[in-house]
């Protein structure tokens, strides 16, 4: 175990932050539209953490790490950002034809440990985590998290420049363009982890609208050796797709790494 430099005070209790990354809730971005025509179009995006899809009933999604990529790969500024009780909202303008990618990428390092019989939690960064855990701590567990939440919007003719991968964490490489999804047709996607195929990973696919039916209607599919999975959409609507991996491949010594990917896609009727 690495030796830790003693540091007075300043251990931030971060239980609430752990809850934000807990698996009990679903996080999502929900655009007002995903296929647009005409010039000077705008899209409003809702962002929330909730149980049921796509209903606002728990917490707004924090937008500190929001970014939007235009079809030419340049950044787009989100406007009219607001945080309400159950959802955050923002608008953005689609100046160019092509596909926009909207992302919230939350990276964090969390440590949990025991000091004098007391369970403590700390939120830190890769550089500082060693200092944030006291040298007399026991049961030290460090987790590095990388959570990516995305959605896609196309104005006019779709393209794929904004779909470029960062090769960090869990990402979705669309084989079928995410704004060309139609009920009854098969779509193909590929999951990557740090740029390499994410093989044998479970992907959960959940259609929205649970309030108006009895069965959740979720599907679980496993990626193959190349990280690829396919889905044939049963009905039109908004769908939530999510996958997560846990491994020891953190850059921080002795830490576990937890990476997750979530996206909302719109499936149109035939």
């Amino acid at each position: 175990m690495t030796t830790f430099i003693k540091r007075a005070a300043l251990v931030v209790a971060a239980t609430a932050l752990f809850a934000g990354t807990a698996n009990a809730h679903r996080t999502w971005l929900l655009p007002s539209a995903t296929v647009l025509s005409g010039k000077d179009t705008w899209v409003t995006v809702d962002a929330a953490v909730s149980n049921d899809l796509f209903y606002f009933e728990h917490n707004p999604l924090q937008l500190d790490n929001l970014s939007i990529l235009a079809p030419d790969g340049t950044p787009v500024t989100a406007e009219n950002i607001s945080k309400g009780r159950y959802r955050s909202t923002f608008d953005f303008k689609l100046d160019q034809p092509g596909t926009y990618k909207v992302m919230v990428v939350n990276k964090g390092v969390f440590g949990s440990f025991k000091v004098d019989g007391q369970q403590r939690r700390v939120r830190s960064t890769a550089e500082k985590i060693a200092q944030d855990i006291p040298p007399n701590a026991t049961d030290v567990r460090i987790t590095e998290t990388n959570g990516r939440i995305e959605t896609f919007v196309t104005s006019g003719k779709s393209n794929d420049k904004a779909l470029i991968q960062t090769k960090s964490g869990l990402e979705l490489e669309p084989v079928t363009h995410p704004n060309n999804l139609v009920a009854g047709e098969k779509a193909t996607f590929r999951l990557t982890l740090d740029g390499a195929p994410a093989a044998n990973v479970d992907v959960e696919i959940v259609p929205g609208g649970i309030r108006y039916r009895d069965k959740l209607g979720d599907t679980k599919v496993k990626t193959d050796e190349s990280g690829t999975f396919t889905v044939t959409w049963p009905t039109p609507g908004m769908y939530w797709m999510n996958a997560s991996v846990q491994d020891d491949k953190s850059a921080i010594q002795g830490a576990r790494r937890r990476a997750s990917y979530t996206t909302t896609v719109e499936v149109l009727p035939p």
Binding site: V35, L36, S37, G38, K39, T41, T154, G156, K157, S158, N180, V182, L268, P269, P270
Partner: protein, 170 residues
Amino acid sequence: MRGILTATVTSLLTIPAAAGDATVSIDIPRLNVAEYHRPYVAFWIESKDGSKISNLAVWYDTKQKANEGTKWLKDMRQWWRRTGQELTLPMDGLSSPTRQPGTHQFKLDAGAKPLNELSPGDYTLIVEAAREVGGRELLRIPFQWPPKAAQVLEARGEHEISGISLSLAP
């Protein structure tokens, strides 16, 4: 409503095609709704495997300032994803204003685009209509090109399109 639609479809049968021409006809129903808008309609031909697409006509609200009528083109959703999103409208010879309820037709000359570009085979005429604060309907007429005999092929709609017909002459 259904009674009105079936009555007007019979008028499509009496349109003959001149030799070498194809005539496309559409019957737009008169609907009894509080807020009526003339539908956006797209007409196009696809080869059987979907690889070749030829646009015939697109009717949309061309009169809006700053071409704002293009905002609703995507509501013709199959047309939009197959071909519409790649076009810039207005386009000479392709786009024109929306039409009133009633029968409308236009001729395609066998010696001109797109008919003169069609290699022999199976094709489908597809017509998609979308109405503001209304619905959307898509109709298809499969046909062979070139036609071996004179024929009038039809497809009937249920709500946004009373019917379409394709008149062919060899």
